[in-house]
């Protein structure tokens, strides 16, 4: 073996290429901001101590100023990079930010989560096992605070498929946690989302070995309320956007500002939307027309809710 062959072998052993996704970039920035705040708080405390000492030494009165000059760095604008791999897309929570009960449950191993919902990073790397009936099953652990069973949803990103989950309490020497079974109807790239107590964890998992790269693209846009009495209005509204097409259907919640973005299988979709600000009988009255999604590209859609 020569050096070039060694390089090639090491490249193979290191696994597939890893993309610098927006999720990871965001996680890195949050780590930096948390550290900056911690440092700012320590600096502020140190400033207060010095001021007090000086005041005591000179016998003067401590004047104003609490030294709390904590600054949160402004986050530079990010460029959107469409990620069409099936990488797990998770940001590990820094050890300093992991509650002690979570750390005890994970026995010090890296974890993913926040607030009331957590899981072990290593669990996300585990692959689902094929069952005799042709489906795929993944045993998956969660830790909730306080204890409860999370709502777990799954969707296939690169085609049609159905998902089912089952979750129960499990108790061992680490305490009480949630043991779930995630059942995938077919192989493919799946996105699993768990929600509990306002916290959400989303990750991708490759079930089986589908051909890569994934035949998926992105639909993004805004849900808008347009029209009404003169002079009329054009406002963004929060709600839900749905798509139905040759590759199945999907549903995306918008941000409070009405924006949405979702990765979907390549295909043609009829896009509709709804918003809680409208009456039930106007559900799906918002239309976005027909959207054609091509591999690796972002298709922009404006979903318009006409107002008389």
């Amino acid at each position: 073996m020569n050096l070039d062959e060694l390089r090639a072998e090491l490249d193979r052993l290191a696994g597939p290429e890893v993309l610098a996704t927006d999720d990871v970039r965001g996680a890195v920035r949050r780590r930096a901001d948390r550290a900056r705040r911690r440092f700012g708080a320590m600096a502020a405390t140190a400033t207060v101590v010095v001021v007090v000492l000086v005041a005591v030494l000179v016998g003067g009165a401590l004047r104003s100023g609490d030294g709390s000059n904590i600054k949160v760095a402004s986050v530079p604008p990010t460029t959107t990079v469409a990620d069409h791999s099936c990488d797990s897309h998770v940001a590990i929570t820094p050890a300093n930010d992991v509650p002690s009960d979570v750390a005890a449950w994970a026995q010090g191993a890296p974890v993913v989560g926040h607030g009331g919902l957590w899981t072990a990073r290593s669990a996300i790397a585990v692959r689902a096992l094929r069952q005799p009936d042709g489906t795929w099953l993944l045993k998956f652990p969660w830790f909730t605070r306080p204890f409860g069973v999370p709502q777990i949803n799954g969707r296939r990103l690169d085609g049609a498929g159905s998902f089912h989950s089952d979750a129960n309490a499990a108790t061992d020497q680490r305490g009480t946690w949630v043991a779930s079974s995630l059942a995938f109807s077919t192989s493919g790239c799946w996105e699993v989302t768990a929600r509990f107590g306002g916290a959400t964890i989303t990750f991708r998992t490759l079930v089986g070995s589908p051909p890569l790269p994934l035949a998926i693209g992105t639909i993004s846009g805004t849900l808008r309320e347009v029209g009404g009495p003169a002079p009329g209005r054009d406002l963004t509204v929060a709600g839900t956007v749905r798509g139905e097409g040759t590759q199945g259907s999907w549903e995306a919640r918008t941000t409070p500002g009405g924006d949405f973005s979702i990765d979907v299988p390549v295909g043609t979709y009829r896009v509709t939307g709804s918003s809680p600000v409208f009456l039930n009988d106007l559900r799906d009255a918002c239309g976005g027309g027909t959207a054609v999604v091509t591999r690796g590209h972002t298709t922009s859609v404006q979903v318009i809710c006409p107002v008389r």
Binding site: M1, N2, L3, E5, L6, R7, E9, L10, D11, R12, L13, A14, G15, E17, V18, L19, A20, V24, R25, A27, V28, R29, R31, A32, A35, R36, A73, P76, T78, T79, V81, A91, I92, P94, A95, A109, P110, R121, S122, A125
Partner: protein
């Protein structure tokens, strides 16, 4: 000055893969790499002025490994002998055999060889990462390549 976004975009994936293979723990590598890039982001005004900012990221990411490598260095030669790679099919090695051989290398030899030939770090960069002299890195690389039965063909490691 290069912007952090571009730096992150170009280097995150490769750094994560190299750190993961160097320490043999993908989950921990993810944590170490994200933390190292977060520190680079905080100090970007100064880190970006370095000749090779990515080498600084490697140093930070693998800082915790240094103690282990130093300990390993003292133990090397006394009680540990890295298993050499069997000569399979006339020297043609499969990925499985290389992985097995890499797993059996002492940690510092494994790290040196991965950082040099996957991470493309210079010998000087690796010396910074491992907290040792450049000569020590060269010697470590020689040992690692010998254990892996790599034919240097007159080229420097």
């Amino acid at each position: 000055m290069d912007d952090f976004d571009g730096f992150f975009e170009r280097n995150y994936g490769a750094t994560l893969r190299a750190v993961g293979l160097a320490i043999g723990d993908a989950g921990r590598a993810e944590d170490l790499t994200q933390e190292a890039f977060a520190r680079a982001f905080r100090r970007w005004s100064s880190v970006s002025k370095l000749e090779r900012p990515v080498a600084w990221v490697y140093v930070v990411a693998l800082n915790a490994e240094r103690k282990r490598w130093r300990r390993d260095r003292h133990e090397a030669g006394r009680e540990r002998t890295a298993a050499t790679v069997p000569d399979v099919a006339g020297g043609v090695l499969s990925t499985i055999v290389v992985r097995d051989a890499l797993d059996r290398l002492p940690p510092r030899q494994r790290a040196a060889v991965v950082l040099r030939y996957l991470g493309d770090l210079t010998v000087a960069d690796i010396a910074d990462v491992m907290g040792c002299a450049e000569g020590t890195v060269k010697a470590t690389l020689h040992q690692a390549l010998a254990n892996l039965r790599v034919d240097l063909d007159g080229s420097e490691p």
